[in-house]
């Protein structure tokens, strides 16, 4: 808002781009030009933009295919589509104004029914904000490959379609169901994956299926005669170290899979990996995009390219985007990532430009630095968790009135643990950062052992923390899916904080393991 006080100073009259609220392609291009110029001034580094205007039906389509322009077919996307259609028709939900894809060129979808102002806002938000984030954030740079994702999607779609033709839609569907159930456990959290490339994928795909199969056979060849099952098996675990990427483990080691089945697991795994950075940078990504639509629109306003009418509509929309209901409001759905992200990025700029004594104590490294450089650094080198623990300032905590509540099953009531005061700042910052640490939000489950020499059963371990239990019903269902892929007993153990191990569930239930016949 502080911009509106300064605009009188130097309003250069370049002439307004538009006056009415209807848009056309010529106007879109003019706005895009204006934003491109402003973005260059602020040093935003972006992929070329491909901006597509679509109808609400297409937007719903895009929603239901995880925002991607194409993908393999599966009933769950149909379910998603029906859900979106239903709630949209009943007015329970508005559609997003835009959708943007991490690809090169960066594809953005704009909804046709947006007004001119909204189109301008979303161009600034998606085509300059998100776009530059995709291109420069380290997670996206290391884990995704914007150049080839579209090609890979085409490859995946065709491959799945081929498999459906060869092996039947239902067979493929069952496998994909199982993979989807384990999709969140199909990512490498720390290891570096090679980047996706269509040509290599295709080239390697044939060789790979043979190669993988030979590797799998290698593992299982060590199978001694059944009668000789001794404590030797107990000593040598397979895998030697627990494996967190369950889908990867299945792709490489599941005993009875056909090569095409391994390829499909790989496809789902690659998709999971592709989306993993997005899940880790919600706050940053949205905050960055919001910060830039706000800054870029204000810039063109200062240059006299838009009028007050435009600005009022823009500010109205912007305020809606960053509204944060209080915890006791019926509208509260958690902390709004737009609000939190926008607040932190705006605050970094404030700290650089107008630091207070408090800032000098908390952020000695960034006070009085070039805000553009500092913001750029923050955008490039962090994910939500580290971003919050690095840059969340006491001021933002005060503004948002953050506090933490302890939910302990041993206590009847919840209790307030920290609030935004001197004693609480560090603690709240730490807790909030942890709240965005994905490995805290998902149960820590790893492949612990495969009984290579025995009944070939696979054992997963859930490493419990803070006494938090697994949701039983769903977990059992997932294990049944795992069993469908592994085809021998699938078991889950819980390792408590004291180190005790107990069996949580076994699929098939309380039955003799499947007899070993290959």
């Amino acid at each position: 808002m502080k911009k509106s006080t300064t605009h009188h100073k130097h309003k250069k009259q370049h002439g307004l781009i538009s006056k009415a609220s209807d848009w056309d392609f010529e106007l879109l291009e003019k706005y895009d030009h204006a934003f491109a110029a402003a973005a260059e001034k602020f040093g935003l580094d972006i992929y070329p933009n491909q901006i597509e205007i679509i109808t609400t039906e297409k937007m719903m389509d895009a929603y239901s295919s995880t925002g991607m322009p194409l993908g393999y077919n599966h009933w769950s996307f149909g379910k998603q589509l029906l859900t979106v259609e239903q709630s949209y028709k009943h007015g329970n939900m508005g559609l997003a104004y835009e959708l943007v894809i991490n690809s090169n060129p960066c594809i953005s979808y704009l909804l046709e029914e947006n007004t001119m102002t909204m189109q301008a806002l979303v161009i600034a938000h998606a085509c300059y904000g998100h776009n530059s984030f995709f291109k420069n954030n380290y997670l996206f740079k290391t884990w995704t490959s914007a150049d080839s994702i579209i090609d890979y999607l085409v490859f995946a779609k065709n491959y799945v379609a081929e498999c459906e033709e060869k092996h039947g839609v239902e067979t493929v569907e069952v496998l994909i169901d199982a993979c989807h159930a384990l999709m969140n456990y199909g990512v490498d959290r720390y290891k570096h994956p090679p980047k996706l490339s269509l040509t290599e994928e295709k080239l390697r795909q044939h060789n790979r299926s043979e190669y993988i199969q030979s590797q799998v056979n290698e593992i299982w060849r060590t199978l001694p005669k059944k009668s000789k099952k001794t404590d030797l098996a107990k000593n040598t675990r397979f895998p030697l170290d627990p494996e967190e990427n369950i889908l990867y483990f299945l792709e490489k080691n599941a005993p009875l899979l056909e090569p095409w089945e391994r390829e499909i697991i790989r496809i789902v795994r690659k998709m999971a990996q592709y989306f993993y950075p997005q899940r880790q940078t919600k706050i940053m990504n949205e905050g960055w995009a919001t910060f830039w639509h706000y800054t870029l629109v204000n810039e063109i306003y200062d240059n006299g390219l838009v009028n007050d009418h435009f600005m009022l509509e823009f500010l109205h929309a912007h305020t809606n985007v960053i509204s944060q209901p209080a915890f006791d409001s019926p509208n509260y759905t958690g902390i709004n990532p737009y609000t939190l992200g926008f607040s932190i990025f705006s605050d970094i700029r404030r700290i650089c430009e107008q630091p207070t004594a408090e800032d000098c104590k908390w952020f000695p490294d960034i006070v009085n630095t070039d805000w553009m450089k500092t913001l750029d650094f923050a955008m490039r080198n962090f994910k939500d968790e580290s971003f919050i623990s690095q840059f969340l300032s006491p001021k933002v905590m005060r503004d948002l009135k953050l506090f933490s509540v302890l939910d302990d099953e041993d206590h009847i009531d919840l209790s307030v643990s920290y609030i935004h005061n001197e004693e609480g700042y560090h603690k709240i910052r730490e807790l909030l950062a942890q709240q965005y640490n994905l490995s805290n939000n998902e149960p820590n489950i790893q492949v612990h052992n495969v009984d290579v020499r025995g009944d070939r059963s696979i054992t997963l371990q859930y490493i419990q923390q803070e006494h938090r239990p697994l949701e039983t019903k769903d977990a059992k269902e997932v294990l049944k899916h795992l069993y469908k892929i592994w085809k021998f007993t699938a078991r889950m153990e819980v390792v408590s904080e004291t180190g005790d191990t107990s069996t949580f569930y076994e699929c098939p239930e309380l039955e003799k393991p499947v007899t070993n016949t290959i």
């Binding site: 291009e29 901006i51 205007i53 297409k58 239903q86 159930a181 915890f327 509540v405 099953e409 307030v416």
Partner: protein, 430 residues
């Protein structure tokens, strides 16, 4: 630098395949919903989409996640006056989690509800009946419209300009507008001629008659005015007018006859209902208006409304001819065959009082068959045929617009109509 693409008009509906996949997977649940809907709906109301309910537990996609319990700190926004150490009552479990998320893991949550379209609804309905695709297409299509000429209008698109009409109206306009000028012109010319003739005689009279000059000027002016009347004016242009007319535009009446004696149980009635629905759908495609007459009978027949037709029960013996008599009576009174396409559909479990069957045959052959487009009879029962069936067999031999079928399952219904659908193209008569 940025490239803009207008994708508003690309028609590809990418979600359609996935939607279909979803239907395929939950076929049984969806079928059940459709089945329930058919049982509860009126025959004439069969063509709307339907809300489908599927229990959430059936469609959930499981994944590993935390259950309730354990210890955790949650950071919230909007603190009012809490200080560390304050306690807050646990919210009741109903509020646990926020709307969308909770529905995946909770028990007894709301069903997954969605709407299917009219086409999808019919598709599923037809699935039970095992209709051939051609028939499905014919029956699901929206009525055809034909553009017919309907006079001329003064607004339209250039391709529809009617030249003759336009020129004719231009001509009449030119006459109408030009007549006064032409009349006056003629007068003026005559007068001028006279005056000129006079001046010729006394050629020596020096002052030229001023009247001549006025006349000459007026003539010049009138000629210019006539000249200025346009040959054609936008006002003259006439366009061919065409209106959409539903095709074919005739009326039909469908008589539903059903035995409601004690032996017709709910299951049989349900099959009968589908039989009537199918005929109704067929007729409502082929005719602009289709009226329904419901006649139920045991020992005596009665005209009733649809509700009573399907849902009230009676017991007692069966005299089929009573229904046929009533049908004939109503046909004569209200639906003369010269104005109506009459269709008869009869459903029964085959029970009849033995001496009545020859009477039925007579009624059909003498009174009814000559008047109707088509008469179909279905016998819904797992047992031996009785006298009624035998009597009807002889009718079927004599008339090719009479069909009969023994039905034990939904899929047996369609063969009754096979002839009818084959003949569809030449069915409507006016």
């Amino acid at each position: 630098m940025s490239q803009f693409i207008d994708r508003r008009h690309s028609s590809r509906h990418k979600g359609a395949v996935n939607r279909q996949r979803f239907f395929q997977r939950f076929k049984n649940q969806i079928k059940k919903s459709v089945s329930d809907a058919i049982a509860n709906r009126s025959i004439t109301d069969i063509e709307n989409g339907e809300k489908i309910n599927i229990p959430n537990r059936d469609i959930s996609e499981p994944h590993f996640h935390f259950g309730k319990g354990g210890r955790r700190n949650i950071v919230l926004s909007g603190n009012h006056d809490y200080i560390p150490g304050d306690t807050i009552k646990r919210p009741p479990p109903a509020n646990e989690g926020n709307n969308s998320q909770a529905s995946n893991n909770g028990e007894g949550q709301d069903d997954f509800v969605f709407q299917i379209s009219r086409e999808e609804f019919l598709e599923i309905f037809f699935d039970d009946l095992e209709l051939p695709n051609l028939v499905k297409r014919q029956i699901t299509k929206i009525p055809n419209y034909k553009l017919v000429r309907s006079g001329f209008v003064s607004e339209g698109v250039p391709t529809n300009i009617n030249l003759v009409r336009s020129l004719r109206s231009a001509l009449s306009r030119r006459i109408a507008v030009g007549t006064t000028y032409k009349k006056r012109l003629k007068q003026a010319e005559n007068e001028l001629e006279l005056l000129l003739a006079k001046t010729k005689i006394n050629v020596n009279h020096t002052p030229p008659n001023p009247r001549i000059i006025t006349l000459q000027e007026e003539i010049k002016l009138l000629k210019a005015k006539i000249q200025r009347i346009p040959f054609i004016d936008p006002f003259d242009i006439k366009y061919n007018n065409r209106v959409r007319q539903q095709q074919p535009s005739t009326q039909a009446v469908m008589f539903c006859l059903m035995d409601v004696s004690g032996s017709m149980d709910e299951a049989k009635k349900d099959i009968a209902k589908r039989f009537f629905i199918l005929l109704y759908l067929f007729l409502s495609r082929s005719y602009e208006t289709t009226e329904l007459v419901f006649i139920r009978h045991h020992t005596s027949a009665k005209e009733v409304n649809e509700q009573e037709f399907f849902y009230s029960r009676e017991t007692g013996g069966t005299v089929v001819s009573s229904a046929l008599e009533l049908m004939y009576e109503i046909m004569q009174k209200r639906y003369p065959a010269s104005e109506w396409n009459i269709y008869g559909a009869q459903a029964s479990d085959g029970d009849n009082w033995n001496n009545d069957s020859p009477r039925c045959r007579e009624l059909l052959i003498n009174n009814i068959m000559p008047m109707v487009q088509y008469f179909s009879y279905v016998e819904i029962m797992p047992r031996q045929h009785q006298s009624l069936w035998e009597s009807y067999e002889s009718i079927a031999a004599a008339y090719n617009n009479f069909s009969m079928q023994h039905i034990t399952h939904y899929k047996d219904i369609y063969p009754v109509f096979r002839e009818l659908f084959k003949r569809q193209h030449d069915v409507p008569k006016s």
